[in-house]
Structures are given as structure tokens and as C-alpha cells.
């Protein structure tokens, strides 16, 4: 269909057409992604296979020193004069062996069952009391097992780099050149390999505080670690995909809570992102309008709300909107209402209220970010549009919005994902409430993340919480995938039309 055809369509046909295009884009994006999966897997396998093969070759054709370093790490380097480097490899190997013998092996084996002995009580004649016989702690077994796995992976990387170093050293020796000294190696880490130096600490931090905990939590989703199986008193164990089944397809309370909350999370994310964005642009336009004075003053007023810690402003809002709070008091004093308005106690009111309060928090952000972009829009675009007799609404839709959107699409996508995971606004403002008879451990304004939080903190249903976490991740991942694909696909479309 050409552009003209589209423009000629009456509005009621345009809407279904847009929806059709949108769905088509999503489906195509998904298909493209799925088609790409086997290709990628093959590629990754090839890389790994090639690597392994090259090490075999190194072993077969290497000299005795290189062969030795397959067993005693660093041997090739040390025997060829790179003593410190060789010793460092050796220390790594010894530390790893000591670790594995002492605890590593048992920690990894512990992952099979996550503990078998439950704690119990035995009577102690001498003391005259029951004595606790400690059992296994499934949670710690799992955590240390994950830890041990990472150590093994770390060691494998070290081992590989050992072999590479051994081969390189042999090659350099064979070519008759001098092997680099340790000092020169170090120097290289500030030049050619500077990226490694800069990345080391941040990566260790990310491993410790994000990746390892994350792997642990993901694994929890495949266990029955819920309220009834809390360590150290009780054991939990692997149950496969049981939690996903319970969450998604069973008719139980938890799945009849999941779907409505998922729906509300999406509604919330769309409104919170969209309204903030559009209204932020409008506000920025008003402040930047020609002839409006005291621009910095206006901007500062709105920015002040950004600077106040969110939990403070949200708790203040919560108190202001309370049934006995100042807003209701003022309205009552003025005689406008008899009964308090149920801002946060009625489900539908509360949902609207959180979106509106979120405007208070979010509009200044988008105002700040878009106002610079607005100033960059060339004036002649508006001038010529005016000459053509375009209305302000048309100008906004056809000049301002596309221009701003073009620059801020990534911002918009991160905002949307941020809103799916927007914990603060909901938790501090309503705490997820008001409660409803239909949900398990959740209220009418709970998002998936706040529900997840409640499940871990209030009812200790960790396995369900991490199942939700994984589902939220899938949601965000699918969305951003589509969004990024769509936005590049969109540009291609323009070319064809």
C-alpha cells in the first residue's frame, strides 16, 4: 500500500490498519529472532569446537615444555625464562586444587540434592535438655554450589590462557626472538591490553553483586523453596518447571493473581511512560515558547521535584492523599465533599492516582531532556508549516513529535522497561494496596515487581518470586528486542514507500 492510499483512508480504517501493522511487526520480529537462534548456536559451537581443537593440536605438536604445562601450569613460561608469569600460573593451579579438595568437590556435589538431612532434636542426658541436631541448609548448599561453579569456570579460563601463553612462548622462542620480561608484560597492560586493566575491577564487582546472586536466584525458581520449605528448619529440592506451571496455567490462587497483575503492569507501563513523555514535551514547549519570560525560574520550579529523594516525595504524597490527609481535609473544610475521597483505598481510584502521582515525578524528567532537543528543531520547518495553514496540533504531531522521538527512542525504551520494574512509586505510595479478595499476597496496584518483593519479604515464597522475576525478564527482553528491531525496520520502511 502506498502512502497516498493510507492517507486517503477514513480514520476508522486507519486504526485497524495501524494495529495490523503493529502486530505484523511484532510477529515478524519474533520470527526473525527465533530463526536466528539455531544459526547463532551453530556459530558459538563452532567457535568453541575450534578452540578445543587448537589446544589438541598444541599438545600434539608442542615441545616437551609446552606439553608439561598442560599438567603443571606455567611450566612452559617458567622454563623459558618468564619465571614470575609461570609461578603466577602455578599458584593459581595450586590454590584451585587445594580449594577443590577441601570444599569445592563437595560443594558441587551438594547441588544434586540440595541437602538430605533435616534438622532434628535429641535428648541430652547430661544437660537435661533437648539438643538440636543440625541438618543441611539447602539455601547455603545451593549458594556455595553456584559459587563453586564460578570458580571452576574461572579456573578453566585461567587454564586456557595458560595454554595460550605456553604456545606463544614456544612460538616466540622458535622464531629466535627474546621473550618479553614480566615488567614488559605489565607495561602492556597499560597500553595494548589497557582494556583488561580497566575492566578487571568492574567485572569482579558485577560478578559478585549481580551475576552470582542472579544465577542463584534463577536456580531457586526450579526448586520448591516456599513458605513451607524454609531453611535451616526444612529442606527444599529441585522440582523442575513446576513453579512455572503453577504460575501460568494452574487454576490456583497464584495464577489467578499473576495474569491480572501482568495486565495492570502493562497498562501502568504504557500510561506511565506515554503520558509522562507527551506531557513533558508539552511542558517544555510552553516554557520554551517565544515571549514567555523567566524561563530559568519555571524550569527550576519543576526540577526541584526531581531533586527531592523519591521516597520522601512519595511518602509525602501518600500522607497528603490519606483519607484523613490534608487534601481531604481542605476539600472538607471548603465544603466540597462530605466523605473523604478514597484516593488510595478504592482499587480504581488508586490505579488512577498512582499514574497521576507518577506524572508529578516523571514530567520534569522528560521536560528537562526534551527541552534541549526542542530548541534544536529548525525554525523554518514551523514557518513553512504555518504558511501552509497547519494547525498547532498538526504541527505538534507532524513536526515536533517525530523530531523528538527520533532522538529519544532509546530513552523511551529504557523508560518503558524501567516502568515495568518501577518499584518505588508503587511501594512507597500505595504499598500495592488496596487489598483485594481476588489476589494472593497482592493488592490492586501491585506490579509484578512489588508482588515479587512481597512474596520474598512477607510470605517467603522465594520460588514463586524468582519465577516472577524470570517472567518479568522475559517480558522486558522480548519488548526491547521488538522495539529495537521495529525502530530500525521503521527506517527501512520509509525508504521503500
Amino acid at each position: 500500500m502506498s502512502q497516498i492510499d493510507y492517507l486517503m483512508m477514513p480514520w476508522y480504517k486507519k486504526i485497524p490498519y495501524r494495529i495490523y501493522i503493529g502486530i505484523k511487526g511484532i510477529v515478524l520480529g519474533l520470527i526473525a529472532f527465533i530463526i536466528a537462534i539455531p544459526k547463532r548456536t551453530v556459530k558459538i559451537c563452532k567457535t568453541i569446537g575450534g578452540g578445543v581443537l587448537s589446544y589438541f593440536r598444541a599438545f600434539r605438536y608442542g615441545d616437551i615444555k609446552t606439553k608439561l604445562s598442560f599438567i603443571i601450569m606455567g611450566a612452559s613460561n617458567a622454563l623459558r625464562g618468564q619465571i614470575i608469569k609461570g609461578i603466577l600460573f602455578l599458584i593459581g593451579e595450586i590454590a584451585f586444587i587445594i580449594y577443590m579438595v577441601k570444599v569445592g568437590v563437595s560443594q558441587i556435589l551438594g547441588l544434586r540434592h540440595l541437602g538430605l538431612v533435616e534438622q532434628g532434636w535429641t535428648f541430652d542426658e547430661e544437660l537435661g535438655i533437648d539438643i538440636l541436631a543440625e541438618g543441611d541448609n539447602s539455601m547455603l548448599i545451593l549458594l556455595y554450589g553456584v559459587f563453586a561453579m564460578f570458580i571452576v569456570i574461572g579456573f578453566i579460563l585461567l587454564y586456557i590462557s595458560n595454554i595460550r601463553a605456553a604456545v606463544t612462548a614456544e612460538e616466540i622462542e622458535a622464531s629466535g626472538k627474546k621473550l618479553p620480561t614480566f615488567a614488559k608484560d605489565i607495561k602492556d597492560y597499560f597500553d595494548g591490553k589497557f582494556y583488561k586493566t580497566l575492566l578487571t575491577m568492574p567485572i569482579i564487582g558485577v560478578l559478585m553483586f549481580t551475576i552470582i546472586p542472579l544465577v542463584y536466584m534463577i536456580l531457586i525458581a526450579f526448586t520448591n523453596y516456599d513458605n513451607m520449605h524454609q531453611p535451616p528448619g526444612k529442606l527444599f529440592t529441585w522440582i523442575g518447571f513446576g513453579n512455572f506451571k503453577t504460575m501460568l496455567v494452574s487454576n490456583g490462587l497464584i495464577s489467578s493473581t499473576f495474569w491480572p497483575i501482568l495486565g495492570w503492569t502493562l497498562i501502568w507501563a504504557v500510561f506511565a511512560t506515554g503520558l509522562n513523555y507527551i506531557l513533558g514535551i508539552l511542558l517544555a514547549m510552553m516554557i520554551n515558547k517565544k515571549g514567555i519570560k523567566y524561563k530559568p525560574l519555571w524550569r527550576t520550579i519543576f526540577i526541584t521535584s526531581m531533586a527531592i529523594p523519591q521516597f520522601v516525595s512519595l511518602l509525602v504524597m501518600k500522607n497528603m492523599l490519606n483519607a484523613e490527609g490534608p487534601i481531604n481535609v481542605l476539600l472538607k473544610n471548603w465544603g466540597l465533599i462530605e466523605r473523604s475521597l478514597p484516593f488510595l483505598t478504592d482499587g480504581n481510584w488508586a490505579r488512577v492516582v498512582v499514574i497521576v502521582v507518577n506524572l508529578w515525578i516523571g514530567i520534569p524528567y522528560s521536560m528537562l531532556i526534551t527541552s534541549g532537543i526542542l530548541m534544536n528543531i529548525p525554525d523554518y520547518l514551523y514557518e513553512s508549516a504555518k504558511i501552509d495553514g497547519a494547525s498547532p496540533v498538526r504541527m505538534f504531531r507532524h513536526i515536533t513529535l517525530p523530531y523528538v522521538l527520533f532522538v529519544t527512542t532509546p530513552y523511551l525504551i529504557t523508560q518503558f522497561i524501567g516502568n515495568i520494574n518501577n518499584f518505588n512509586v508503587i511501594y512507597f505510595l500505595t504499598g500495592g494496596g488496596p487489598s483485594t479478595l481476588e489476589y494472593y499476597q497482592a493488592g490492586k496496584t501491585d506490579l509484578l515487581v512489588t508482588w515479587l518483593y512481597k512474596l520474598t519479604v512477607n510470605s517467603k515464597d522465594y520460588c514463586y518470586a524468582s519465577t516472577i522475576g524470570i517472567l518479568v525478564f522475559v517480558l522486558s527482553a522480548v519488548f526491547s528486542l521488538i522495539a529495537f528491531r521495529r525502530s530500525s525496520a521503521y527506517k527501512n520502511e520509509e525508504v521503500f514507500q
Partner: protein, 423 residues
């Protein structure tokens, strides 16, 4: 490739783990091998940690000092941490091995704490403890027939009122309280109806049972039978009465008494001192009033009784001494101290039955009067399913979405939600 990253990584990991490992196999994978070493050799220094609320810290320190004086055979090194009764479960279960040896807890947490292995079974001087404390408090400290904690004080709600507004006869019945004309800006009765703890007093009044006769049957709740409907109808009339405020939480109650815009309200001893301060000579407290149901009968409002307990950490290094300390903190003398200093109602039989001593404290004697009509708050995990539906039901009453026409239906959903299982 990746030499520095890989080696630094595995080195730091390995080293840190090697260091940390010693600690890890204590509570980790080594099953059964490391039983605690209960020591009672005299002369050894025993390190114990005690948790209590911030406002109790001074009092606890005094009690512990006296404990040290009377237990000279050991040297004690006792430290304190701030964790209130209501947070005990979360803090203990976060990491049992790091939690205090002796801690205060609210009785509704006991089942979960026990099941998760946080509480030491009380077997030392068990008979004596059972004999010394009231039956209800022992029941609240017992799980599956075994005692797991030491009762320290009882806690339930009752009614505070302003003597200048209501007479002793008035407060006998809720209907008389509401019928009295005290002026337009005065609320006659303040109540937090959206909180299941308070709300249940209406259901208990008509004889409904939450989780069966003993509060331990997770498949039973009869709030939707004809008695429940009677209670519900009464509540609907109540929220439509302009003299009744159904969303009065602690803060509004205090403000109400402070500004003289409230005649009577339901709350507990924790607010007694403040309310006494606001009302002065007009300060009074008594049991909850009776209510007149639509079938013509008059019944007494019930209540949910909670207890403050002291528990011993299941993984304590010194179980015998920790038990001695917990027993000490909850003995008769210290319960008396708590009563005098914080208006906590004792669970010790002798003290609880000493009407004369109790009458010195208006709030505690009112609590004692109400305690007769109260049900011990159940601690089975299923109770976690009760609070949210109760709040939803209360909100439904307040915003008028629950009417006499759809009451039965709403009560059915209420009960269904309370009894629901996860999958």
C-alpha cells in the same frame, strides 16, 4: 588472552573462598557433624546476644545486669541489638546463625519460626514455666505439643474512652455509645475496620471461628455462615452511622483524643500512655462493648489475643545459658517491671490474677477484662492468607461496595480467599 582478568578473578575468588570456607562448612553442607557444643563449665565466658525493641533497651539492660549478679558461676558477655518483636521473624530467618541467642517475638510468628528452624525447643524447667504462666499464653508459645518460647506479656485491644463524654453505663453497649449526641464534630467510636486483627472481633462476637475450634485447622473458616452474615450486617449498619469512624488507626485515634473530637476508640496498651496524657482525668478504659444484632440478640465483642514471647535461637552456642536468660527475662519479677514501666500485661498466673495490683493501671486492667472474651491469635501459616482478604472486606465496607444484598456473596469470597491454597 584474558590472563589478567582470569587470573585475578580466580585468584581473588579462590583466596576469598579459602578464607571464607572455614565459616561456610559450619552451617553449610556438612550435615549433622557440627552439633553445638553446649558448655556449662563454670568460669568460662559466655557470649550471648539479646534482641528487643529500641524502646525496651534500657529496661532489658537493667534486667540483664541483675541476671549477671544472680548467676555468678559464669562470666557473661551479653550484647544487645535492636530488633522489635514484629521484625523478629524476618531478621532471625534471614540468617539464623547470626541472629541473637535470645530474642523477643510476637506470638503470631511462632509457627513459621519453628518450622524454619529458628527456635530452640524449651525443655529446661518446662513444667515450671507451664505452671507459672496462663494457659492461653502457653498455648500461644506451643507448636505441635512442644513448647518453643517463654511468654512475657499479653497483648490485645480494648476500648479507651473519654469520661467527660461517656459514662460507665454508656460504654457497656456500642449501640448506646453511638446513640449519644455529643455534637457534630465528635466521632463517638473510632475503629480500624480494615485491619483483620480488629475486624475479627465482630465475627468472634457472633461465635464464628477462624481455622476451627483451636485455630489450627487451615481448611476451616466459617465467617460466611448465618452468624457471619449477622456480624456483617451489623458492620454495614455501623459504617453508615455518621458517629462511627471505621478508618481510625493509631494516629487518628491519638489526634482525636488530643483534640477532643473522639469519645471512644479501640486500641491497645501501646497507646495508653499517650492517651492518658491527652485525656488527663477523663482517661478511662474498659473491655469492648456489646453489640445488638439484627436477630435481637445481644453479644459481647470478641478479640484476637496476641502474646509477646521470648525465644531462644535454635543455633545458639550456649543453649543452657540462653534458656536461663530467657527464663529470667520472663520471670515474675521482670514481668512486674514490664507492667510498671511499659504497661505490659503480665502472663504470669500470680500477677495476672492479682486484680488489685492490676487495677493500678487502668489500661492493663481493661485488657484483663477483655482477655476473657478474646481468642488466641492463630499462628498457623495459613493465617498469612487472612489479613489481605480481611483488609479488602473492610475497605469494601468503607467504600460502600458491600451492601446487605451482596453480603453473603462477599463473605463467601472472603472465606474462599482465606482458605485458598496456592496451586
Amino acid at each position: 588472552m584474558k590472563k589478567l582478568i582470569a587470573s585475578a578473578l580466580s585468584l581473588t575468588l579462590a583466596l576469598s573462598l579459602l578464607v571464607g570456607c572455614g565459616k561456610m562448612d559450619d552451617n553449610g553442607s556438612s550435615a549433622g557433624s557440627s552439633s553445638p557444643s553446649p558448655s556449662s563449665k563454670s568460669g568460662e565466658t559466655i557470649s550471648l546476644k539479646v534482641w528487643g525493641a529500641q524502646e525496651d533497651q534500657e529496661m532489658l539492660k537493667d534486667m540483664v545486669e541483675k541476671f549477671k549478679e544472680t548467676h555468678k558461676d559464669n562470666t557473661y558477655d551479653i550484647t544487645f541489638g535492636v530488633v522489635s518483636e514484629s521484625e523478629a521473624k524476618d531478621e532471625v530467618l534471614k540468617d539464623v546463625s547470626e541472629a541473637a541467642d535470645v530474642f523477643a517475638l510476637a506470638s503470631d510468628q511462632i509457627a513459621e519460626l519453628q518450622s524454619a528452624g529458628g527456635l530452640y525447643r524449651v525443655t529446661k524447667n518446662k513444667e515450671e514455666i507451664i505452671a507459672n504462666n496462663t494457659e492461653a499464653s502457653i498455648e500461644a508459645a506451643t507448636v505441635d505439643g512442644e513448647l518453643y518460647a517463654y511468654p512475657s506479656s499479653s497483648d490485645t485491644y480494648f476500648m479507651f474512652y473519654d469520661k467527660s463524654k461517656l459514662s460507665e453505663e454508656d460504654v457497656e453497649s456500642l449501640d448506646t455509645i453511638l446513640a449519644k449526641d455529643l455534637g457534630d464534630d465528635v466521632i463517638n467510636f473510632g475503629f480500624d475496620i480494615a485491619n483483620g486483627w480488629y475486624q475479627s472481633s465482630f465475627f468472634f462476637a457472633t461465635g464464628c471461628k477462624l481455622f476451627g475450634d483451636h485455630g489450627t485447622d487451615p481448611t476451616h473458616c466459617d465467617f460466611n455462615n448465618e452468624k457471619g452474615v449477622l456480624a456483617g450486617e451489623y458492620m454495614i449498619d455501623l459504617v453508615n452511622n455518621k458517629k462511627f469512624a471505621g478508618n481510625y488507626k493509631d494516629d487518628q485515634i491519638k489526634s482525636g483524643f488530643e483534640t477532643g473530637t473522639l469519645a471512644a476508640a479501640v486500641t491497645g496498651t501501646w497507646n495508653a500512655a499517650d492517651i492518658q496524657g491527652y485525656l488527663g482525668d477523663n482517661y478511662a478504659a474498659t473491655k469492648l462493648p456489646t453489640i445488638k444484632l439484627s436477630d435481637g440478640s445481644t453479644v459481647q465483642m470478641g478479640g484476637m489475643a496476641n502474646f509477646k514471647l521470648y525465644g531462644v535461637n535454635a543455633q545458639t552456642k550456649h543453649p543452657v545459658e540462653a534458656m536461663e536468660l530467657a527464663e529470667w527475662l520472663t520471670n515474675k519479677d521482670n514481668q512486674r517491671v514490664r507492667f510498671a514501666m511499659r504497661s505490659f500485661a503480665p502472663t504470669n498466673r500470680e500477677l495476672a490474677n492479682d486484680a488489685e495490683a492490676l487495677s493500678a493501671d487502668i489500661a492493663v486492667s481493661a485488657l484483663a477484662k477483655q482477655a476473657v472474651f478474646s481468642t488466641v491469635q492463630t499462628s498457623i501459616p495459613q493465617v498469612g492468607n487472612f489479613w489481605d482478604p480481611a483488609e479488602a472486606f473492610g475497605n469494601g465496607l468503607l467504600d460502600g461496595s458491600i451492601t446487605k444484598d451482596n453480603l453473603k456473596e462477599k463473605l463467601d469470597t472472603f472465606v474462599e480467599a482465606v482458605l485458598a491454597t496456592l496451586s
